[in-house]
Subunit: 633 residues, 2 copies
């Protein structure tokens, strides 16, 4: 390809719309253009990268015996209603774009394909002889993100490889899951990425086990916690660890389990309480009052108790609430702090009466009275004044959940449930409560590991590029996907699913491989492997030697670019560095002697060599590094 025909438009300045390096570079180097929020045009250079990544994904997936297919992007609501996910994906924080067609039928734009593939499996899979089977596709997916950002990192339209496997037994599912783990590691390695596999939360996809593959990079949206011995790595959303030991309350403060009152004006935060009254945060039980909204209209007040030095892990909380109430009340649509503003809004919009004045915010204790927080009629019928169908109603009891760190304290400080007052020397017994213990704390760097308390966790940021799940039988049960076993029994299928963010992977590769001059692609996924540049477009000897080098590279099967533009050498070199072509062959003054310069983008190493030798070096280095096992010269 000639640069003059490549529609190459590079920008000198960083675009205002971009925050992180990879996003800036994608725009500056002419790889993408924004069409709408989180929606991008993929220009020819990026398309070549995506094709190379897809080719590696296809080779490895096909090699594992998976079959490529293509499922529709438009999906009937009815399938998602059968799996119980329609409301969760379209209402509240739901991220599925959806529309009505001309017949008034609701359709969603696929963010994922469990429903479609499972209904297809129910149709196509009949016998154990057909199992296991693993179907995959490489396809544009859609998510109506609340905050699209960072270019292709969190877009509203993006390319995914998603695969779904079906099995006759959990054991067989585990085998394919393990095989896909290997396939994924090879794919990322071949793409030239440094990736960490971590334990992950399964989120809205569900299932019993899942693992994410993270490209480590400062700009990553995820926090990964890893043990120094390398035996444990998990997404913070899911991570478990030992909290630091608590500092016991001084003996004198431990006499009364009901607690001694303490006037604490202006101490509505743990920091203020610690600073003003000399308590260590580990001596305090911090109480959060939240309101959870469920699909069927249930509004549930939740009182969370945590040790004062700990933070709430919202993902763990969502999982705990879903586990307890999801089956009866449908999808958890939202969960938010029950502030006085929210109490007013609830009264106006949902007809739910919670007296804002009855909330001693900043001074809550684990034994906060139910009072205004429950339906006083004890019925949990739809609140008065609500439109039929919305059915919003307050639960008849408060749900109290206590993190293990708080539950383990035998004497602690906590709010007195009236403004300006705390209690000191409180025990759970003294409060008359038996803590309902749930792991709700966010692990942090520095925490000790569960598997070996002498190890500590350290944190690194990561970009999720892959996620594999053991789904179990959740979808197959909902969509009645069954097969006849060898013994003639009709049984429900076991299922796994396996995703790779193809467009995100391209940007993650840039985040891991760039410098001040521009991108620095791993050879295996570079849009072109080499670029031939003549220093002067006016010197016929240089031009002709450059043409000849270009032809010979192409004949050798190298994906080569020729910068044939009538620009200054400096401009051409800058563009070559900016767009990140791994190898550059410069035809300059040495052309008269038949000599050229070979430059390796990654380390800037340059050598003057006779053309033949230069081509040999280039071709053998490129061929060797295509496997993704290393880009060294």
């Amino acid at each position: 390809m000639r640069v003059s025909r490549l529609l190459l438009v590079t920008l000198r300045d960083d675009p205002a719309e971009a925050e992180i390096a990879s996003h800036k570079l994608l725009i500056r180097a002419g790889y993408i253009r924004r069409v709408a929020s989180g929606i991008y045009a993929y220009l020819p250079l990026l398309w070549r990268v995506l094709q190379k990544i897809s080719a590696i994904v296809r080779e490895e997936m096909d090699g594992s015996g998976a079959l490529e297919t293509l499922l529709p992007q438009l999906q009937p609501a009815e399938l998602w209603q059968r799996s119980g996910r329609w409301a969760g994906y379209t209402a509240g924080e739901g991220i599925m774009f959806h529309l009505c067609d001309r017949q008034g039928r609701e359709l969603g734009l696929g963010p994922t394909h469990e429903e479609v593939i499972t209904s297809l499996a129910a149709d196509l899979l009949r016998s154990y002889r057909q199992l296991p089977v693993n179907l995959y596709q490489i396809q544009t997916k859609f998510r109506d993100e609340i905050r699209p950002r960072f270019g292709l990192m969190r877009g509203r339209e993006f390319i995914m490889k998603d695969a779904y496997s079906f099995h006759g037994s959990e054991e067989c599912l585990r085998q394919t899951y393990a095989a896909m783990d290997g396939v994924y590691r090879r794919i990322f390695q071949r793409c030239g990425l440094r990736v960490v596999a971590v334990e992950a939360d399964s989120g809205a996809i569900g299932g019993s086990a899942s693992q994410e593959f993270m490209v480590t990079a400062e700009a990553g949206e995820d926090l990964i916690l890893t043990s120094s011995d390398g035996l444990y790595a998990a997404n913070q959303e899911r991570a478990v660890s030992l909290a630091p030991p608590a500092v016991p309350l001084p003996g004198g403060m431990r006499l009364s389990g009901a607690g001694e009152p303490l006037a604490t004006p202006d101490a509505t935060t743990i920091e203020q309480l610690a600073a003003g009254h000399g308590f260590d945060p580990t001596q305090v039980v911090k109480v959060l009052l939240l309101l959870a909204r469920f699909e069927d209209g249930l509004r549930q007040a939740v009182v969370i108790s945590l040790r004062g030095d700990q933070q709430l892990n919202e993902v763990k909380l969502v999982n705990a609430l879903t586990a307890r109430l999801g089956a009866a009340h449908g999808t958890l649509l939202s969960i938010e702090p029950l502030s006085t503003d929210l109490a007013r809004e609830l009264r106006q919009k949902e007809g739910i009466e919670i007296d804002p004045a009855a909330l001693p915010l900043g001074y809550l204790g684990p034994d906060l009275e139910e009072g205004a927080l429950v339906d006083r009629r004890g019925l949990a019928e739809p609140a008065q004044g609500m439109a039929r169908g919305s059915g919003a109603r307050l639960a008849t009891t408060v749900l109290r959940l206590t993190d293990a760190t708080a539950a383990a304290l035998t004497a602690f400080v906590c709010g007195a449930n009236r403004p300006g007052h705390h209690r000191v020397g409180v025990s759970w017994e003294g409060l008359g409560l038996t803590p309902d213990v749930v792991d709700l704390r966010a692990c942090q760097a520095g925490d000790r590991c569960l598997h070996d308390p002498s190890q500590t966790l350290s944190a690194v940021r990561g970009i999720e590029v892959g996620h594999i799940f053991q789904l179990g039988r959740k979808y197959a049960e909902a969509l009645e996907a069954r097969y006849t076993s060898e013994s003639g029994q009709e049984e429900t299928l076991w299922m796994g699913c396996y995703g790779i963010g193809v467009s995100r992977l391209a940007q993650a590769a840039i985040e891991q491989n760039h410098d001040n001059a521009g991108l620095n692609w791993p050879v295996a996924i570079a849009p072109f492997e080499a670029i031939v540049v003549s220093a002067s477009a006016q010197d016929p000897q240089q031009v002709s030697l450059a043409e000849s080098a270009y032809d010979r590279l192409r004949q050798a099967g190298i994906d080569a670019l020729l910068d044939d533009r009538d620009e200054r050498a400096g401009v051409k070199f800058k563009d070559a560095d900016l767009i990140g072509i791994p190898w550059r062959l410069v035809v300059g003054r040495g052309a008269a002697r038949g000599e050229v310069e070979v430059v390796f983008r990654a380390d800037g190493h340059r050598r003057d060599l006779p053309l033949d030798q230069a081509l040999e070096v280039l071709i053998s280095a490129i061929t060797a590094s295509r496997s993704g096992l290393g880009d060294s010269a």
Copy 2:
């Protein structure tokens, strides 16, 4: 690939949902499954076909210098509002799926990409040095079809290759248009299709010239008219021809230009008038009364006069109305007969008063009085009682259009504008009308050709698989896509666009290549080129010879399938024929002698040969026919 791992599910019976052969076969042979109306899952077999077609398309497009890209499927309404197409594509008969995102912004699901690419061109193209450029993509497109049908033929979600070229001059546009004509012919030839190129209507895409590529097949939705000398071929929507000569009215009936009244009860159709009163249909002027609705609320009564033996071509009418009124009143949303029912509906829904009793339907003359058909206030203000914004209002004049066949009559029969009466011996002068002549007639098989009246048109049905357009500057003007010319002037870009229906092409290939036993793929786009079948899965000698043949075919680069299922030979042969693999290698009783049978699917020709020789025949035939230039053995 082994058949046991292919997820092959074939059906014995024709599916109830399918009407035409190719659709039935796609389902029966396990290529597709329906997910919703006009929305299909592409199973692994079809996906392989689509990949092969796409590879041919890519090779030819890349070879022509076009650049592959990928544009978003979600498109902001604002871009379509700038080009003036949003209303036409989303309201009335508009076929664009559209939705609101969580910020309340309107987005359309791309049925085509002129707006997106032109806004991108406005950003990226600055200088004549960058021109011409041709960008293409292979992508899933969406159309909310009024009547999705025939499987992939008219789906709501389908795969297109669409290309858009930009030029500094019309001459350069014409050159690329001609080059794309050649590229398209090669693509279809390589895919093994018999295709006719025809003059086409440009429809909602617009522009000055366009040509369609039609796969000839009985099940085609389009009617193609071709001259016997092969010099003329056009879609009926667009075709022109000479109508048969009219039979003159007998002299005695030609005296009065105003016409002699004739009582014609029960003669509301041309057929009844001809049968009951002895007129030849060519002696009659047939009058159609229609109502056109425009985007800005204008409701326009249209009186069409056609010679009695001619039919209205609706596409020509839409073009004529758009040409006359589109610039002032926006998109033509619909056009329909102005019946008494419609008149009532207009009163109820749009507040427009047309007295149903004032319409002498069945007895209309070209001089039908304006009467109830115009806004009597002469203002064409929004009708009373209408919601603000909808602005529906009746035009202040009737639009009268006359086809050349009617205009050419010097004395004719026509309705008397009162029920039960016609007039005989009418002339245009006698009616006091000067016909506003427009070509509105539908050409038919048997018509004489314009280019040579000794030639006649014959009709054949076709499936549109490609369409190329000279768009001119319509989109570039609307979206302000300009470049700086060599002389330093800022000029508007010229533009072409070029589409291929990739998924439709796959089904069209089946429509052209099938028999009672199943599909019969051209080698170049077959999911597999050869299938190896052992007659008995129990005979170790057969199994081992089959395995060896399969391995050797794959080593020779043949896309081979091995039917390793433990099924009867008949079942395996039937499936091989049904799924349409071009070559079959059968390992049967001859295995003991090292002999196999080679079968060519297209003609059923079979030969017994020693394995080595059989492989040689197969490999050389397949290699030769991959070019798509012929599948002969």
